[in-house]
Amino acid sequence: MNNIKNIFIKDTNNKLGAIRLSFGILGSLALAYLTIMLIAKNLNDSTFENIVIGIILLPCFWSIFGLWIVMSKTRFNAILKTIIPFIVLYTLVYIIG
């Protein structure tokens, strides 16, 4: 019961917690990677140039998504913020590719 409460309720202390950190680092990497795949697919230059532009943008998107996920109010929010965009992006990548 306590665990479920932990996930859903806004925490009063300012500890980051394992869920937020792991979703903030690994989840945001997945999101960022899917984003750069989408961006690179829609560029009109040669393949190599598209890949290099994507790879340059990767750290930017990684940190932006990471910040966005880590700053969520509840732990459940952090999980949602990872999973929903992941499904959306993955479908888009799948359809376009």
């Binding site: 230059d45 040669s46 930017c60």
Partner: protein
């Protein structure tokens, strides 16, 4: 909410700060690579030569008269020759280097083959800067993740400053002092730090993070980004034509002058000769445009291809002809590589980097001040951080000191049938010894004082030993017109005096109490 942002900034920061520190410290030394490389090598103590005055044909003869074999035991062909010309800015060297021969250097004045050292400080600093510590892949990848973290830290730091409205009033406590200067110094240099992070991640993680996207974009044909067509990072070689008829190639110096006439503003640093002494001879001159900032530094090369028989222009590309992506990449690389920087911009950039460096030291000390003293992480990071910070200083000054001091036959030693370099060994040993010293002494104030004093003395030894061993002391090199070597000696001397004064004047209140 703000507290959470602060905590994540602190958590990520303390995990990567020491790697960033190493990278930045040796990066600052790498900015001055040309000067270090001129100073450290007796063979490079030569006057500046204009490329027009080098007898290029005589130099080429030195290459074609020797036969070399590659790893498969096949003869290296003599009609493909790649030369790097002496170029202080772009290559940091005074010698002609033959790129497709192993360790082959030529003196530009006499065109004789010379053998420089295998281990040079300037190259070693560059290795540490890019994360090739112990030549291992693991550290390269760690350094790559560190650069990603630097991007994250600059973003989250910016958010912290926007949200919290810090006041830059006068501070009374040391903690406040550290916080203020960490914030201000890194805020004003934020664009450069951000750019360092982005490009660093590209260099170290680029190849390892690209397989999925490459395979996605090429529809599963390949996962190796370097095998994709139209590689804009590496200029492709001209096509090789089988030699058919022997015809003498034109004089290379006249070709060089001809190539130079085609541009208003050019500095060549590379010559590639295809099909030498053949009817299909072609000569490619590669260079950059010194007055064309931001789009002509490393990726977007300017080149011209001349016919070797009649000197006709076969192909020509200028910096403004590059594609949009090439130009963008080049302007991103421009401030990381400093290829086209002359003396004064280099020094200005060095000063900017030193201010980033001070901001970083402040961050480390701030973390130590704020942390709870009985925590495990504090007990580990306190000695470790001081080992890295002071160790880099002592170890690099020890490299300068031993460069001219160690006799030639003791430069290498043999353990377990493997040749080791004495200087490199010494470099790592100093870190270990300092770590043990900190553990025994426990008082960081005294350790810092003595380290500063020691590195000051070492730099002083470096200047003296250079003067004695090479025969070019300060006065002599000034009279002979070796400006770079003179300035290098002078800087080392000034640094040593500053460090010794620092070690006398430093106050114990700035150190975390144990």
């Amino acid at each position: 909410m703000k507290k959470k942002l602060f905590n994540i900034h602190k958590l990520i920061g303390v995990n990567v700060i020491l790697f960033f520190f190493l990278s930045l410290f040796f990066g600052i030394l790498t900015i001055f690579q040309p000067y270090i490389s001129f100073w450290e090598e007796g063979k490079q103590h030569i006057n500046k030569v204009e490329i027009e005055n080098i007898n290029l044909d005589k130099c080429i003869k030195q290459i074609t008269k020797r036969t070399y074999f590659d790893e498969n035991g096949e003869k290296l062909s003599k009609d493909l020759i790649k030369l790097t010309l002496p170029s202080k800015e772009a290559k940091g060297s005074n010698l002609i280097r033959v790129n497709n021969r192993p360790n082959f250097y030529l003196d530009p004045n006499t065109c004789k083959k010379i053998k420089p050292r295998n281990f040079t400080i300037s190259r070693f600093f560059d290795q540490i800067h890019t994360g090739r510590i112990f030549n291992s892949l693991v550290f390269r990848i760690i350094f790559g993740f560190m650069s990603v973290a630097v991007v994250f830290l600059s973003l989250s730091g910016l958010f912290l400053i926007i949200k919290n409205h810090y006041k830059n009033s006068k501070t009374k406590t040391t903690k406040g002092l550290y916080a203020k200067y960490h914030r201000l110094l890194l805020l004003y240099t934020l664009p450069i730090v951000f750019m360092f992070g982005l490009t660093g991640a590209l260099f170290n993680l680029g190849v390892y993070s690209s397989p999925i996207i490459t395979s996605y974009l090429t529809d599963g044909k390949t996962a190796n980004v370097l095998k994709v067509d139209r590689n804009i990072l590496v200029d492709p070689e001209l096509e090789y034509i089988k030699p058919s008829k022997k015809v003498k190639t034109l004089n290379l110096n006249s070709l060089y002058i001809k190539a130079k006439e085609q541009f208003d503003d050019i500095s060549f640093y590379k010559i590639e000769i295809y099909n030498y002494q053949d009817i299909h001879a072609r000569v490619k001159f590669i260079g950059y445009e010194p007055n064309n900032y931001f789009i002509s530094s490393m990726g977007n090369e300017t080149y011209i291809v001349l016919n070797g028989i009649n000197g006709k222009v076969l192909d020509k590309k200028m910096a403004k002809d590059g594609s949009f992506t090439e130009k963008t990449l080049d302007s991103i690389f421009y401030l990381h590589y400093l290829r086209t920087f002359t003396d004064i911009p280099r020094i200005v950039f060095g000063i900017i980097c030193i201010s980033i460096f001070i901001g970083l030291v402040m961050a480390m000390l701030l973390w130590l001040e704020r942390s709870k003293k009985d925590k495990f992480s504090y007990k580990v990071i306190k000695p470790l951080s001081f080992t890295i910070m002071l160790g880099s200083l002592i170890a690099s000054s020890a490299l300068f000191a031993t460069n001219w001091l160690i006799p030639k036959k003791y430069l290498y030693f043999n353990i377990l049938d493997k040749l080791h370099n004495t200087q490199e060994f010494l470099f790592y040993l100093i870190y270990l010894l300092l770590f043990i010293f900190i553990f025994i002494k426990k008082d960081l104030y005294i350790v810092t004082k003595r380290s500063f004093f020691l590195s000051g003395i070492l730099l002083f030894i470096a200047v003296i030993s250079h003067g004695l061993a090479s025969g070019y002391n300060l006065i002599h090199s000034f009279n002979e017109g070796f400006t770079e070597i003179f300035l290098m000696d002078l800087t080392l001397l000034i640094m040593s005096i500053i460090l010794i004064i620092f070690s006398k004047k430093i106050s114990p209140k700035y150190f975390p109490k144990s």
